[in-house]
């Protein structure tokens, strides 16, 4: 059990820290959460800065254009960028954490050359076309059809909860290419250009009042067969590659962010005298234990993956606890804010609302418990 970093890793940290200190002051002001073109411009500009400095695709394999960094370096990167208050991956999320790694793992040389460099440079934005109105956590129930017509697929159906759809250039799309096959077979993974005729995007308004994601309607959209990643009808397996990334590493930076928020809450409570309330104080202390342990669990999971373990299931353990802890953090924030918790312009109030999505998105907590029980504990499948 070794939590120390090598001199090379410490040197990497020092260089990154110095670079962040030099470039962050030059960044433009963060756009309003509902200003999607503004958010796209902001996020892609940050990605370009990372690319120019050699930090883009840090954990991607070298032959995919990445830096082939060690897991420890990746953790250092996430820790330091968050600590410095650098922008989130934002609109680049799907490209960098889902579609990109999937193409890197499963795509042909041609596909990798076409799609990966623009993601790393921040030139192209991807969105995720997985969920459907009648297939949320039950992803294999998806019904969007793709019928072969020469060297094209003709795609019809609808998708929902598609983040960044309004500003995306590409969509990683799951379609049913063989309706007669069993649910998990007969699915294919396509890269669809968002300005193809027949694609309609309609923003959805969240309970937080923002347009965080969208519905997408597909009406006889023609997608080249050459845009299929992996074999026809093998899209489920291809997708599982992507989802293990999502649960394994997607929230790592956020844990660091939560620890910062917790410190800020304590400072606020001290400033207004609420710190003398032992119930509140101890509640914040308990959350400190929680987020410290979640950071350690991340390091444990990364160590396990490095030894050939599976990030996906360890990721389910992490996600179950993290999504709960995040909600508890913002409940505590509301207590610190007191009457101000009714003011949407106060810091943390919007976060309290958006934290509600964490036990739902990327597989609900109920689905995660099934995964943990069946795949990690070996309990029998339910009927």
């Amino acid at each position: 059990m070794d939590l120390s970093y090598t001199p090379q890793e410490e040197e990497f940290r020092a260089r990154l820290r110095a670079w962040l200190a030099a470039v962050l002051p030059s960044l433009a002001a963060r756009p309003h959460p509902d200003d999607w073109p503004g958010r796209r411009a902001y996020d892609t500009a940050w990605q370009r800065m990372l690319y120019d400095a050699g930090y883009a695709g840090l954990h991607w394999p070298v032959d995919a254009g990445g830096r082939g960094a060690t897991p420890a370096q990746h953790l250092i990167f996430l820790e330091e960028t968050e600590r410095a208050g650098a922008p989130y991956v934002g609109a680049n999320f799907v490209g960098l954490l889902h579609a990109g790694p999937t193409i890197a793992a499963e795509g042909t040389a041609e596909q990798r050359a076409r799609w990966l460099p623009p993601v790393l440079r921040g030139d192209e934005i991807w969105c995720q076309g997985f969920s459907e109105p009648d297939a949320g956590s039950d992803l294999a129930a998806l019904r969007t059809r793709a019928v072969r017509d020469g060297d094209h697929y003709v795609v019809s159906g609808s998708k929902i909860w598609t983040s960044h759809a309004e500003v995306a250039d590409w969509c990683e799309l799951l379609v049913r290419t063989d309706p007669a096959a069993p649910r998990h077979r007969g699915i294919s993974w396509l890269a669809m250009e968002m300005d193809t005729p027949g694609v309609t995007v309609r923003p959805l308004r969240t309970l937080a009042g923002s347009t965080e994601f969208a519905e997408m309607f597909l009406d006889e959209v023609r997608v080249p067969v050459a845009n299929r990643v992996g074999a026809e009808n093998d899209g489920w397996r291809v997708t599982m590659v992507t989802l293990s990334f999502e649960r394994g590493t997607a929230f790592v930076g956020e844990v660091v962010a939560c620890r910062r928020t917790l410190d800020a809450l304590a400072a606020e409570a001290r400033a207004d005298g609420r710190w003398d309330d032992p119930v509140l104080r101890r509640r914040l202390g308990r959350l400190n234990a929680e987020f410290r342990a979640l950071w350690r669990l991340t390091q444990w999971n990364v160590g396990e993956a490095g030894r050939g373990g599976v990030v996906g299931t360890g990721g389910s353990v992490f996600k179950l606890r993290y999504s709960q802890a995040r909600q508890e953090l913002y409940e505590a924030a509301a207590e610190v804010l007191g009457a101000d918790s009714a003011d949407l312009d106060r810091e943390w109030v919007l976060d309290r609302l958006s934290s509600l999505s964490y036990t739902i998105a990327a597989g609900t907590s109920q689905i995660q418990r099934n995964i943990v029980a069946e795949r990690l504990l070996g309990l029998p499948k339910g009927r």
């Binding site: 939590l3 342990a293 390091q299 990364v302 099934n370 309990l379």
Partner: protein, 312 residues
């Protein structure tokens, strides 16, 4: 950075597991329970010969020369096996109390306001204070004024000591002993939490109701999944705290391990249904010990205060 067990650590854990399975397996444990057996000095010496108490003493002093991470693995196995006795206090006192490292002397701990465990079988009392730590070489003096308590845990005899023992010879930094005691106790809690998870999963896979194993029902499945989540979060916290020996991290580890041990034992009992409520089931033994340990070395309240003070 490689936050995983090393090959040596895996081997050590496997060795301890094997030793405990051979010398204090379930049949032996239940036989001791029925007999109301006290502390077994023979077993105590065997544990000592395996390095249980001298583990962290330097090799020059006859110890094994290992550190907190290895000690945590040992205590995790002890917790899983329900091994009784003042294991934590004796290891902390090894090197300071003559014979403790060799298993000849049994050392228990005295904490203000709490009954003392295994006072009848102890040779010395360790009194960890925030300033300094002291050892009363003779537990007999404390026994003179002690009143037996009918203990919640049948494996842990308790005594109420009305006159706190006088502070004797200072042996070590009291703050360090306190945090190390909390960490080793947390490791026992972790072992218990992992064991009750295994017990629940085993039962849920075997027990059939309504024509199916009860583990196929989501309500039961989700209880088991949450048990694993609690145990694994506690594991990361305990192991990391053993590596850093950071007092705040140790407080977090104790808090989460206490919670995992107590709540997992309760959920394990629920999964076992009526069977879980019987004396024949081991679940109550884990729950009772977990409750006691939660009060030892560092309570939830104390841990939360340490963790709160660390903020901002």
């Amino acid at each position: 950075m490689d936050f995983q067990l090393s090959d040596d650590q895996r081997a050590l854990r496997a060795g301890v597991r094997e030793l405990l399975a051979g010398r204090f397996g379930r049949d032996r444990m239940r036989a001791d329970l029925d007999a109301g057996a006290g502390l077994d000095r023979t077993l105590w010496r065997e544990l000592a010969r395996a390095g249980f108490f001298a583990l962290r003493l330097p090799e020059a002093e006859g110890g094994v020369g290992l550190g907190l991470p290895e000690a945590v693995l040992l205590f995790e196995e002890a917790g899983a096996a329900l091994l009784p006795g003042p294991l934590v206090a004796t290891q902390l006192a090894a090197g300071a109390v003559k014979g403790a490292a060799e298993g000849e002397a049994v050392v228990t701990a005295w904490e203000p306001g709490r009954p003392v465990a295994h006072l009848d079988g102890a040779d010395a009392l360790l009194v960890p204070g925030s300033e300094g730590a002291a050892v009363l070489r003779d537990a007999g003096r404390a026994r003179e004024s002690a009143v037996p308590v009918r203990s919640l845990d049948p494996f842990t005899p308790l005594w109420r000591v009305t006159n706190p023992p006088e502070v004797g010879e200072q042996v070590s930094d009291g703050g360090r002993l306190r945090t190390e005691g909390a960490l080793l106790t947390a490791a026992e809690q972790l072992g218990s939490a992992a064991r009750t998870t295994d017990m629940a999963v085993q039962h849920a896979g075997a027990r059939e109701q309504f024509g199916s194993p009860i583990g196929s029902f989501q309500a039961v499945k989700h209880l088991c999944a949450e048990m694993l989540v609690r145990a694994e979060l506690a594991r990361s916290a305990v192991y990391a705290a053993a590596v850093t020996a950071d007092p705040v991290e140790i407080a977090g580890a104790k808090l989460l391990a206490d919670e995992a041990a107590v709540r997992n034992a309760r959920d394990c009992l629920q999964v076992h249904g009526g069977m879980g409520f019987t004396w024949e089931s081991d679940v109550h033994l884990h729950l009772k010990r977990a409750w006691l340990r939660a009060g030892w070395w560092m309570t939830a309240e104390a841990a939360e205060e340490v963790l709160a003070t660390d903020l901002c």
